[in-house]
Symmetry: D2
Subunit: 288 residues, 4 copies
């Protein structure tokens, strides 16, 4: 999906459904000389909500991003929409939170290094020093915030200050083994992406591989979701699975699951960074 | 995808790409009181072709199907489009061609009986009598046309006459073991759906399971495609695969493949009958 | 897996692990002129239990099934094994319990009709009359036992009497919408196969498709398991999944799930009837 | 599959089938105090060949690897078997051949670094200098052999000399863009593992992603196989696939294919290094 030319824009919009929305949006684009490259639309037939993602190209000299947003605002206000116009060539400022496992961080940094993501990994936050060498190898600032039961609130405040100072837009929890407080999560609604190492809603909480091993399932999974206040209950972005058999030990489940985790998290980040996800209550609309 | 209300329409259209196409189409719908239910658009970035599927609802009293087509024709002519407006509640008149294997026919008739397809199976054609009882069980006329090397042309003429007389729009080759002539195929462009029992383009031609067994592949497949003059070369609609191991005998491959064949063919027919496929040269655009 | 010659045998055995078990079993077979066709062995590294499935051929004139079992009994007693020697060409006497949905029954009867299962479907039990015509089409006796809240115990007694009279060995719950009592289940340990329409342990209990729809999962599943006293907690035999998206309505989930249900249940029955499953506590060992 | 204790052995053996083989092998193990941990056996029903993999443990003080091989040799000779007894804790001396793409090398080195493979990556050979930094990061000697059309034979001689001097047992072609000569391949029969970036036998030869893009397939694949004299014709070890749609450009196919390539090659190497593969003519028996 090659939308990364310098004059490409992407609109993500949701609103209550009503006739004329596609017409309004496509005329807006056409009148400004835009040519639509890709358009996906969805109407939730139960909730009667409208969702759209449009990407379009404007030949130079085109309007600026700001001009576009200003021109679109009155239309959006009229229909009561939640919306944002993104520039395809602008990378999302991203922070990655990790603890000790390296597989997800490895995957994201390597993929990013070969240009698979439209993200700018601005910094890495960790409660352990283990992954500092990996961060340094990719030249990314590593910030150590040891978390103790007594300093959780203060630590989060420092982290938030760091994120704000660095203009962070998206946070990826790459097997970060701490639970963020509600206050923290509320600051980044639908912008904190987590990977849970089970096929949610099966095996919520701790030790999902052990739970899976003891239950004797024939398939294990991994789930990437936006973080909300309720643990493991946020809108699911992506899931994937792998078969296991009676031969697989707990260690085998963990090994197979590692592959799932890094792929599912990478896919979720890719979808998020290319502006393909809209939140619909407790669910997501993913325009893949 | 619940679009089957009595006043629902679906437009399938392709043309050369240019700015304003979505705007033109969506305005056309909006001006006639339509509310878009589902819209998918694709631009081939290499060939610069535009493809769209839109489904919309018009509250009663709405315009008729004919009025809609007449109103849209000038627009379509102007942009040089290939297009058709379908009524969601109108079933596609379908003929199924079979030989001796029952699995694909079984699958289609059963799925159709529980309402999974928007097809009206008007008749079954076969070069063998074996499946007549199955046809009768579902109350569908069964026409036996034994094919010999000496009468192929005459037989096809009779078949074509039968199809025309019955207003057949789509033909499904459900493991029909005869090769249709070019003349026959040309009469139903992008409207003859075949199932090939391999993962095309691997194992073209006869005995693909034996070829797969002898090559020692670890995965087998099935492919549904539109029939064109060149054998097994038509635009691919759907493919699926299943794992095999060294334990699987040729008979096991055939057994596992049966499941693939009936599922892949059923899915292709479902996509076709719900007007989700556009042909793009040697390929398909499938708005699933 | 072609083991269906008239003088083929299959041993399924489990016991505590200790050195010499494979040697003991393979020598036993060899000394009686048997040639091993397929052997799978597993040792649970945590519980230290031993599981084996061996199939072998004895050229005519061979020993009888009874002679083999009598000859093996002293060895099995010595190692304290649970075991059974099956004849490959002997079909398992099976009863199918259904309610109103026809897809699983359809699938099993059709597959059985083309020889995919080593089962003899002796009778069908239902609490509704809906599927009687389907049973009759395949010439299988259909027994209607309307279940009311007031007569559950008596009904089960009658069913058990019917099963016993017909020498039923295996019961398949093909979307049977009644919960069997503990007393019933205990009579057929590891011999009642159920299909649950979710990816267990997610969405236990009623309306799993609705639960899945509301949670917004990106994958749905189906699970076949042996029935135990605890609802949806029995040892899992087989699971499979299919992807869903935000476009899929609840009806789409049900439709996609139907395909999963019939495939997963059919596979579980196939594995069971070809004597490929051993129960290991709350789990299964499946020698596929 | 935890077989890596210091006194674990693995026998891989193939021979013509005849009664008594399992009995002979299992008795041999039992008589030396061994306890079988895992046993897989296969008889090719067409070719009448016998294949077995057995792993067993001998409590200390046990026999040595050499003693075991010497003791087993007369038995193997008698049945005319191809065989080898491996020590579970001994890592396979491996060389990786690369060109410019880093994804497969990255994957193998990272997985090896966290202990997923029983391999000792002794050296890396390349015809380009690009991946030298990656090799150095993992502390692995990197040998540059620029290949020109005029020096191919001499270069291979030098490479073979290097491999021999370093006791290399297995060679992994991790997207190595040179074709090895027959003479080279013959020196490492069933010990050179390649990754081909298509679902073989579809799209043999160059540019398989372009071929797939132009054919309009709905699924792409990758295939790992042992290298033989005939290009892309060696025994297949492992294959996997991923879905593509009309939206995927050639670049998307390459991106999605990268993930397949690294996973399929890694799995093949894992299977090979844990002694789970036997070659059966043009096919493999994989005891996964």
């Amino acid at each position: 999906m090659t939308e990364s030319k310098s004059s490409d824009f992407i609109l993500l919009l949701s609103s209550a459904d009503r006739p004329g929305l596609v017409s309004l949006i496509s005329r807006f684009i056409y009148e400004r000389g835009g040519n639509i490259l890709d358009l996906n639309e969805h109407v939730d037939p139960v909730e009667k909500n409208f969702f759209i993602r449009v990407s379009w190209n404007i030949p130079d000299p085109g309007v600026s991003h700001e001009e576009l947003e200003n021109a679109f605002r009155p239309h959006a206000d009229e229909i009561g929409a939640s919306w944002k116009i993104h520039q395809s060539d602008r990378k999302t400022r991203t922070a990655i939170f990790v603890s000790r496992y390296d597989h997800c961080l490895h995957e994201i940094l390597w993929r990013n290094s070969i240009g698979e993501f439209a993200v700018d990994v601005a910094l890495i936050v960790s409660n352990h020093a283990d992954l500092q060498p990996l961060a340094e190898r990719y030249g990314i600032p590593f910030h150590l915030f040891p978390v103790k039961s007594t300093n959780k609130h203060e630590t989060e405040e420092k982290e938030l200050e760091l994120l704000e100072r660095n203009g962070i837009e998206t946070i990826v929890l790459a097997r970060y083994m701490q639970i963020l407080s509600s206050g923290f999560v509320e600051r980044y609604p639908s912008r904190v992406i987590n990977i849970h190492h089970s096929f949610l809603p099966a095996f919520i909480g701790g030790n999902p591989y052990r739970q899976a091993y003891e239950r004797g399932v024939k398939i294990i999974g991994a789930t990437s979701h936006y973080v909300t206040e309720e643990l493991d209950q946020g809108p699911i972005i992506e899931q994937d699975i792998i078969r296991v058999t009676h031969k697989d030990t707990l260690e085998d489940l963990i090994r197979k699951g590692r592959d799932l985790e890094r792929f599912v998290l990478a896919k979720a980040l890719r979808l998020h960074a290319s502006h393909r996800i809209l939140v619909n209550g407790k669910k997501t609309v993913v325009f893949d």
